[in-house]
Each structure stands twice: as structure tokens, then as C-alpha cells.
């Protein structure tokens, strides 16, 4: 693809995911430091800081870009802070990329980090009867897993997915993450253990729903010209597309935190669903298709949701995801490994860091440095993710 649509990833870094109980800023600083070291760039040479926000850590979380810039030592860099729920990291990447592609800067640092409470994510406090996120908890008791479970049950009834299939996704991802130094859970699990774990949101069990974690991730993005000069090579890992699309009306699949879908009574539904459109926009921007992809990092908020993504990013037709899984196609060593990092299954959600972490994994994979989980010979990868209230997130990375 043409150079004027690509940016280079010179550095990637993470703070390991876990339940560390420290200030989120520390995780962001650790990840940023690793990414800058990886890139061989000094903080004072960063021209643009793009922060992904957390809403659970007070004001510093709402202005994450400035929070990290201050903590790294004010340098006068330009700044932005993005919030798009689980897609916040993709928006932060998108902002930095746009600045570079517009020629407004050459070197940008993208950082996201979070410290999370235990248990279900709950809405922001207070008595807020005009907030659908507050109301869905109050009037329905509908947690995030409620929505994941609705999709899972529909897969079972329409496509014949079984509880064993869902458990097999967890078993696969647990194995993938065993040697990932940044993963929170590095323990093999059996299908029997998964199926014996408590039912959280029927048909999804405790071991099939991602935890909430502390963690941080960062990227150093630069213009291609800068990267070639700095690295002395044309052999670069680049971001070729960033999709941040919203749904099209009428959105006919129920989505968090809504009480209903749009009405399709007067307008026919658009061809692709929202989740399909997220990846389609990325493929179109990169000028490639699903057949070009060597690996994918997708948002496995639940084990069953990973199967939806196989179809939504075009790895197979609708209703064929279970076959892909059973055939081993999406296991490391298979045709197109999915979540070689171990995914959210092994990481848990550190919301603003997660979409950035997906890109970090692709970068390490394409460099051939994903020890213990390497997808051999990978040259193109895609991430897919979705933030509540209609935030698409997909990034295509190539080498």
C-alpha cells in the first residue's frame, strides 16, 4: 500500500497484567518506558502524546494524555486524551496516526493503563436516570456478561455451538498465554474445569468470562521517513489501517448498554452487521482481505464471543466458526491463529490498554519475538475490538 497511508511502529511496551493495586499511572509509565527503549527514542523527542482514558481513576484518568505527559516530565509535547470504552486504545492510536499522516508530527507516543475494581464492572455512581448504562443495571440487572450470554445462546441455537465449543476456546487461549510474560493467567485449564466452573450468565461460566485487570500498554509510532532514517532499514512493522467506525442505522443487534435495538420498521438493515463493518473498514483501508491475514487478536470478552469474531473478521462464513476452532485452524500452528497472546482470557480487561496491547502483540509476532507462542512467518495481522455505545476498533499491522 502507498507510504502516505502507513505509519511505523518503532516501539511496543507493556506493564504485565495483574491485580497489582497500584496507581494506573505507574503501569502507563512502565509501558511507555519499555516502548521508548524498544524504539530507541528519548521521551524528550516525542512530539505528540496520545492517552487512552480510564473513567475509574478520577480526573487523572479522564485526561490520561496529560497525566502521562506530566508524569514523564513536562516536555511541551502536544497531547490528546481519548475515551471510547474498550475501544479507547484504538482511538488513541488513530489520533497519533492521523497527526503523523497529516505531517503535523513525526514521533508519537500512545499510552493506555488502568487500575480496576474487583468483580462486575458497574456504572458510574449516583442516581442517574438519564444514563442508559446506569438504567440497565437498575431496571434489568443486565451486567456486561448478560449481553455476551445473549450472543452465546444465539450461536448455540442457530449454529449448533455447544458448551464444549465455548470451553475449547478457553482451553486454547489458556495454552497460548502460558509463556506470555505479560499475561495475568498463565495456567493450563481443561475443558472439564471450565465446564465445572460456576454459571455466571447462562450459558457462560466463570472461566469463560474475562476478568478485570490492572495493566498498561504503549506504542511509539513514527512517520515512515523518520523510521527509515532512525532504524536504518526499510524492514519496518507498520500500521496500515485503523478502523474506528460507528454502527449504521438501523443497528439490529442488541448492544451494551441499550434496552433495545434500532427499529428496522421503516429502513432495511444495512448489509454487514456493526461488528462485520468494523473489520471491513480496516480491510478496505489497508487494501487487503481476510485471506491475507496470518493471525488475529480479537476481543474475547467471553469464550463464545471469540467465535463471533472469526466470522465478523471474515476468517470463515457465518455458522462455521465452531468448525474452524475444532479443526485447530485458530490454534498457534494452525492456518490463522487467533489470540496467540492468550487474549483477554489470559489478560483480563484493562480497558484503555487493551486495544493497544492487541497491537503490541501483533508487533512482537511480526518481528518473530513472541517466544513460546510465535506464529511462524507471520507478516499481516488484524485486531478487532468493540467499545460500548458503538465504538468499532480494528487495526491492521504488517511487516
Amino acid at each position: 500500500m502507498p507510504d502516505d497511508k502507513r505509519v511505523a511502529v518503532l516501539g511496543a511496551g507493556m506493564h504485565p497484567w495483574g491485580k497489582w493495586g497500584r496507581n494506573f499511572v505507574e503501569y502507563g509509565l512502565a509501558a511507555a518506558g519499555d516502548a521508548l527503549d524498544d524504539a530507541g527514542i528519548a521521551w524528550t523527542d516525542v512530539q505528540y502524546v496520545s492517552g487512552a482514558d480510564t473513567i475509574r481513576n478520577g480526573y487523572p484518568g479522564f485526561v490520561a494524555g496529560a497525566t502521562f505527559a506530566q508524569a514523564l516530565g513536562w516536555s511541551g509535547a502536544r497531547v490528546s486524551s481519548s475515551y471510547a470504552a474498550c475501544a479507547s486504545g484504538a482511538q488513541a492510536v488513530s489520533n497519533a496516526r492521523a497527526q503523523i499522516l497529516a505531517g503535523l508530527c513525526d514521533v508519537a507516543l500512545v499510552v493506555g493503563a488502568d487500575t480496576t475494581p474487583k468483580g462486575f464492572f458497574a456504572p458510574v455512581g449516583g442516581d442517574r436516570r438519564d444514563d442508559p448504562d446506569w438504567l440497565r443495571f437498575h431496571l434489568l440487572g443486565a451486567t456486561n456478561p448478560t449481553y455476551f450470554a445473549l450472543y452465546a445462546r444465539r450461536r448455540m441455537e442457530l449454529f449448533g455451538a455447544t458448551e464444549e465449543d465455548f470451553a475449547a476456546v478457553k482451553v486454547k487461549n489458556a495454552r497460548h498465554g502460558l509463556e506470555n510474560p505479560n499475561a495475568r493467567y498463565r495456567k493450563e485449564v481443561t475443558a472439564e474445569e471450565v465446564l465445572a466452573s460456576p454459571m455466571v450468565a447462562d450459558p457462560l461460566r466463570l472461566l469463560e468470562i474475562c476478568a478485570t485487570s490492572d495493566g498498561g500498554a504503549a506504542l511509539v509510532l513514527t512517520s515512515l521517513e523518520f523510521a527509515r532514517r532512525h532504524a536504518g532499514t526499510d524492514d519496518l512493522v507498520t500500521i496500515d489501517a485503523v478502523s474506528t467506525v460507528t454502527p449504521r442505522f438501523p443497528q439490529t443487534v442488541i448492544e451494551m448498554p441499550n434496552f433495545s435495538t434500532d427499529s428496522a420498521a421503516t429502513s432495511s438493515a444495512p448489509g454487514p452487521t456493526f461488528k462485520q463493518s468494523v473489520a471491513l473498514a480496516a480491510y478496505e483501508e489497508a487494501g487487503i482481505g481476510p485471506e491475507d491475514v496470518d493471525l488475529a487478536e480479537v476481543y474475547d470478552l467471553s469464550s463464545a464471543l471469540e467465535l463471533d469474531w472469526y466470522e465478523d473478521i471474515g476468517l470463515c462464513k457465518q455458522g462455521e466458526a465452531e468448525r474452524l476452532l475444532r479443526d485447530g485452524d485458530t490454534t498457534v500452528g494452525g492456518r490463522v491463529p487467533v489470540n496467540p497472546s492468550g487474549g483477554l482470557s489470559c489478560f483480563g480487561e484493562a480497558i484503555p490498554a487493551q486495544a493497544i496491547a492487541q497491537v503490541c502483540e501483533l508487533v512482537w509476532q511480526l518481528r518473530g519475538r513472541a517466544t513460546g507462542r510465535q506464529v511462524e512467518g507471520a507478516t499481516v495481522g488484524i485486531t478487532a475490538n468493540q467499545g460500548l455505545f458503538g465504538h468499532g476498533s480494528s487495526v491492521i499491522v504488517s511487516r
Partner: protein, 157 residues
Amino acid sequence: MSPAKARVPAIEGWFTLDDASPALLGSKCTSCGTFAFPKETYLCRNPACRSMAFDEVELSRTGTVWSYTAAGYQPPKPYVSADPFVPFPIAAVELATEQMVVLGQVVADVDVEDLRVGVEVELVLDTLYEDDEHEYLVWKWRPTTTSATTPEEAPGA
């Protein structure tokens, strides 16, 4: 439970209080006819329609199950949970006229094992929670039949 408790909606204006045949209150755009729930009050959600005028309408009282689940763990506040917590089913229900899917709890005496995609359900009013003076009401779904129909070809699964 004291019989003297006042029965009040858990949220104002989202459903009628007709015990025999309650209905959700939605909006219908006076220009393009698009429905919305909860009610749209400012601008029509159809991007091809810029209307700002709506009629309040009662939505279909029956529909078919699009999907379903059951909450096995106590949801966090602001959900007001029974003590001890009792798992409860939730369904996403397709309304034919409105061509939309609406969430609701399913009445407590229905086992999740008895639900299927395609099952016909009707809207009822039920207690969401109580305090000393009030019984707070919410809409719930209740199956009208026990037999599942075959789901159609996955529309936007």
C-alpha cells in the same frame, strides 16, 4: 409484604400501569414512522429523517425470543437485589411490528431451560424491588407457549 404498599413504576413513563394488558411506551416518528424505546424526544434516529416530532405509542405486547440468558451472580448496584440473591432469566425479544429487539427480565417462575429462540412471550408487570412503603414495578416477559418454533435464517446474528 404489606398489602398497603403503593405500587409505583420503577421508572416513570416507560410503560403503562394496566395490570391486565400492560405495554411498553415507545415513540413513533410522525415523519418516517421509526419506532424507538425508550422514547425518542428530540431527533429521529433515522439519519435519513430529520424529524423532531413524535407520537407516544404502546409497543406490541407480544414478541418472540431473539435470545435469552440467566443471571447467576448478583448484579452490582444500582440493581436492588433480593437477599439472598436468586438467579433470574433475561430475554431479548423481537417485536414484529416495530422490528426491534427489546430486553427484559423474564418472570421468576420460568426456568432458563424452558426458553428457546423463537418462543412467544408477552409483556407483564412484576415487582422489581420493594421498600417499606412501595412496590416498584417493571416490565417482564412471560412465555405464552411452551413449544419453541424453529428460528428463521439468522438475521444479523
